[in-house]
Amino acid sequence: MIEFREVTKYYRVPGGRKAVLENASFTFDIGHNYGILGGNGAGKSTLLRLISGAEPPNSGRIVRRARVSFPLGFSGTFHGHLSGRQNCTFLARVYGADEHAVDRFVADFSELGRYLDMPVQTYSSGMAAKLAFGVSLALDFDVYLVDEVTEVGDARFRQKCAQAFRDRARRSDVVMVSHNSHTIKAYCDRGAVLGEGRIEFFDSVDDAMRLHRSRMGSLDA
């Protein structure tokens, strides 16, 4: 469960500030996958960073009763000079997970083979994303934060990622932001629409999509 209490967050833009949330209170309940829709610049990524704790709100409080992941597929935490394996070990330590178990899972899942022992700076962005995806699954979070469903690898690898989420649907939740309604529909059972400093929650993804569509204009599929 992640609870926002009277949270205000804005970011600066040339010539003023843009509100992501204005005095908003809401809760992500345990046992549901949330898909958050919103247009460009609505602050979807900022909202994810608020949830993860990477960015503080300007006012208000965010209470997390869950182990929340860093935004999924985010490979920025990797140290370029360290090998993929060493980077995984670092994250395992930070999150207090069993280093060896994480190592085994990542080696099996990421399909990086001997590249796992090469410095991350030699990786292509696709390989780094595979590694990031593998390690965040290995760390077994309660809530996974997914930004736009990063295009990781080929169709087969994406299938594997979806399967992994399916397998852990009973013990882990997902909060996903996207402007693409059908990925949300595929991954989530509840929806929300972010925009104009407010967020509206819906018990079904379809209802959220309806509001999003009416805001975006109907031809924007």
């Binding site: 009763r65 860093f70 920025g76 207090g96 469903v149 994406r158 299938q159 989420f165 009973r170």
Partner: protein, 586 residues
């Protein structure tokens, strides 16, 4: 034949009228216009002839030429309402709205009931920029003849143009109350209701129209659009399919079908339509981007296919308990974990840059001490200020300085260089400071030990006279370095200027810290100024620890210790206050 009669000055009026009738029967508007003009010139006193000429000229798209005749007709018969209205229409057509409005206002006063006059007035007012008046006239026009659907449609279109969609809808609905609306009018009414966002109401007229004329692709398309807006995706899909089936060449129907198909998850069928659109209009941007979206959607779907029952899975999952909120001890444990992970990462990362990583760390003090020793060995021709080995003397001064300056610079940049690490909520800027400090201090200790070993090998006794004093001096330098480093981390958050200042200041301190001299060698007034530098006391204390018998009376190790601790406290405070700012990505 035509030209002949037009050029003949003596042509008979009756003959001209006969020819005119022929041209009209032939349906030849240009000849009719020319001949009516001839008749009008021959018969200038006949209002009727003038009116006829103006009418045929207007019909031949020569409204400009018609104006003088329309005017003349009205002058000859000033009470003729029809002539006046005609002049108004002709003026409107030639773009002389100002004059048209004047004439038409007169017409409106002449006789009461005439919808056409109001419509013409509405037209002139709109062109003159009086939108309110235009709307009023348009409504008046439709009220004068409530059962005339055609006029209502014109009025409705006119009102839409003025932005009065609601008025337009009302006009058409009133017409519907008087008589059964035609299919065209029903379609327009539904379109207007859709435009106004009244989707539910809009369905009724379009359903009626389709009941009478089920083969209209554009009606099915519109109905599908309405249904989609209402969220009835399945029904919308049916209507869209019907529209495309009825009119396969209709690109907007196909484009809409793609949208509805995507919403229904029928990517394969959408791809078929997208492909048809592209082959019909190759290179059209809209269809290219539509197609590329579809291809992406198809790929994403491949991954999500088996996942679409997620809602069911989530519903059937057993209720999970909330984990207990973290206690203070948990938080401490988290912090200890992240600091130790950071330390290991830092050590590996720093030395992983090249196989010679740690060798370079050793080389810096080595070169530094070596250069000082060699230069002064030659210039001073003899003994160093303390002890009997130049290398050892400079070693005792350079090491604390290097530790402080490394701490200041590395801590100063720790938050900025590791923004991405701060995206992990468990890692705080303070953790970064602590882990960097630990690595720096341990590296310094290691270098101390290695150098001591080297000195012993080369026959210089590295054992300090007082180990506790050396440890104390080392600790003061370390605390001072960490404190200043944290203050710099805070300062560097505010831009480049602070960085430039610090890098200059740190070089100046080099000369003011007694590294290559002992403070006693300085004139008293200089030494009194230098005594404000805590590092000077620290380095001097280091030498007191190494060289027995060196005990300068002015040294104040207490001052250095208090200064260092105060700096550390201030630095920790600054880092914690700015912690959130350090996290945010600008």
């Amino acid at each position: 034949m035509m030209d002949e009669i037009l050029l003949d000055p003596d042509v008979d009026l009756v003959e001209a009228q006969r020819r005119l009738q022929e041209a009209v029967d032939r349906n030849d508007p240009q000849s009719a216009a020319d001949l009516s003009l001839l008749v009008a010139t021959r018969d200038p006193a006949s209002a009727h002839a003038q009116r006829v000429a103006s009418g045929y000229l207007t019909a031949a798209d020569r409204a400009q030429d018609a104006i003088p005749h329309a005017r003349r007709a009205l002058e000859l018969a000033p009470d003729n309402r029809e002539y006046a209205l005609h002049l108004g229409i002709v003026l409107n057509l030639s773009g002389r709205f100002d004059e048209a409005a004047k004439v038409l206002m007169k017409v409106a006063r002449m006789a009461p009931v005439d919808p056409e006059t109001y419509l013409q007035l509405a037209n002139a007012s709109e062109k003159l920029g009086y939108n309110d008046a235009a709307a009023k006239f348009a409504l008046q026009s439709s009220r004068e003849e409530p059962e005339n659907e055609n006029r209502r449609l014109i009025v409705a279109h006119f009102l839409v143009r003025l932005g009065e969609t609601d008025e337009a809808i009302r006009t058409l609905m009133e017409a519907g109350a008087h008589a059964q609306l035609s299919n065209g009018a029903l379609g327009t009414l539904s379109a207007l209701l859709g435009q106004a966002g009244r989707f539910e109401e809009a369905l009724e007229p379009i359903d009626k129209a389709l009941a009478q004329e089920p083969g209209r692709a554009d009606f099915h398309l519109h109905r599908s659009w309405l249904l989609m807006q209402l969220g009835r995706l399945q029904d919308a899909l049916g209507a869209a399919r019907r529209a495309v089936e009825l009119d396969p060449a209709n690109a907007s129907a196909r484009r809409h079908a793609v949208t509805v198909l995507i919403e229904n998850g029928e990517i394969e069928e959408a791809l078929r339509h997208g492909g048809a659109l592209l082959s019909q209009f190759p290179g059209e941007d809209e269809y290219v981007s539509c197609m590329s979206y579809l291809i992406d959607a198809r790929a994403a779907r491949g991954a999500a296919e088996s996942f679409s029952e997620i809602a069911l899975l989530k519903r059937d999952a057993p209720r999970r308990e909330l984990p207990p909120p973290p206690t203070f001890v948990d938080k401490l444990r988290t912090q200890r974990r992240s600091i130790s992970a950071l330390v290991l990462r830092e050590i590996r990362g720093r030395n992983g840059e090249s196989k010679l990583g740690f060798f370079w760390t050793l080389m810096e003090p080595f070169i530094h001490v070596g250069a000082l020793a060699i230069v002064f060995e030659f210039t001073m021709h003899g003994r160093p200020p303390l002890g009997d080995n130049f290398f050892f003397f400079y070693f005792t001064g350079v090491m604390p300085y290097l530790m402080v300056s490394h701490l200041v610079l590395h801590l100063g940049h720790a938050a900025r260089n590791n923004k991405h690490l701060l995206q992990i909520a468990q890692v705080t800027p303070f953790d970064l400071m602590v882990s960097t400090s630990i690595v720096e201090i341990f590296t310094s200790l290691l270098i101390y030990l290695i150098f001591s070993g080297l000195f012993a090998v080369f026959g210089v006794d590295p054992t300090p006279a007082s180990l506790p004093l050396v440890a104390e001096a080392f600790a003061i330098a370390a605390v001072l370095g960490v404190g200043c480093g944290m203050l710099c981390a805070a300062l560097f958050e505010f831009g480049q200027l602070g960085e430039s200042f610090v890098s200059i200041f740190i070089r100046l301190i080099y000369f003011a810290s007694g590294i290559f001299y002992v403070p006693s060698a300085m004139p008293v007034f200089v030494r009194d100024i230098l005594a404000y530098n805590p590092l000077l006391h620290g380095i001097d204390a280091m030498r007191m620890g190494y060289f027995s018998g060196y005990n300068p009376p002015w040294n104040d190790i207490g001052y250095a210790a208090i200064f260092a601790v105060m700096t550390l406290a201030l630095g920790m405070l600054a880092v914690n206050v700015l912690s959130q700012r350090m996290r945010s990505i600008k």
